[in-house]
Symmetry: C2
Subunit: 159 residues, 2 copies
């Protein structure tokens, strides 16, 4: 149950660890962790915030790593397909995965004030919804769970 992102933590290590974990997974599975893909992952890890594809593309362009939409989308597709990042449907934006490589059903807590995003575990195949889905004969395979509200920092300040 990862809910870092709101809590204070060593964020430098957070980025380094995220990148090296993905690098190792790629090595282990024969995936190519190319410069563009690495850089996009770093950008996603940078702020525990969701970034739009075009935000990322702007950064890549500044750094000479690519200038056309497909460059950003391809890197993001790679990261999402391999479980190193997730798409936040509500925001049309992307975040780095908190536990890369492990297959899971992620849920997200999105602060509407500071836009930070934390990842949590929410297996929708159990719980009340799953139960009534099962009663209706519906078989849940995947689920998008995106909760919006106020993070601890902002709910204090906004009071």
């Amino acid at each position: 149950m990862e809910t870092t992102g709101f809590a204070r933590h060593d964020h430098g290590a957070c980025i380094r660890d995220g990148v090296t974990a993905v690098a190792e997974h790629c090595r282990a599975e024969g995936l190519q962790f190319t410069p563009v893909r690495r850089r996009v992952l770093e950008l996603l890890l940078e702020g525990h915030r969701a970034l739009g594809a075009y935000d990322i593309l702007d950064r890549l362009r500044e750094e000479g790593l690519g200038s056309q939409p497909p460059v950003a989308y391809r890197a993001l597709d790679f990261l999402v397909k391999n479980g190193f990042a997730h798409k936040i449907e509500r925001l049309n934006a992307f975040v780095a995965c908190a536990c890369p490589g492990e297959s899971h059903m992620p849920a997200f807590l999105i602060c509407r004030k500071c836009d930070k995003v934390a990842e949590a575990e929410a297996d929708m195949r159990e719980g009340k919804l799953a139960q009534s889905a099962a009663e209706a004969g519906f078989h849940i395979e995947r689920a998008v769970v995106e909760a919006e509200g106020l993070c601890p920092n902002c709910s204090g300040a906004a009071a």
Copy 2:
């Protein structure tokens, strides 16, 4: 716990009841249930499926009710804002609400084969996710819950 849409039911009544329920709510609250808004609601009720804004716009155009995107988006905004319809973020599409007017936290079961959508209740303010969110100090206000899988009809056929 509404999971109609997959079950066989009197769909003619389903549409009529949906429209009249919304009409009454509008009357009670002084909202204008204009022809475009009514027609968009009918279209959404038609198939228990999510329709894109441009699908709706095409239908409106055929019927002479409007031809430019804002026409469709404004009607949809009205319906969503007043709880008569919901947006399915995963599909960038819209469905009629199953219990119009009542304030609720809807969840959706989306069949990946036949594209039908059923609405269920899933108050994310209780349950495991809410609990760990609370532990992290996060206050959930709204939630997008969209489960994808196979509906009873399709899971039999697809086996």
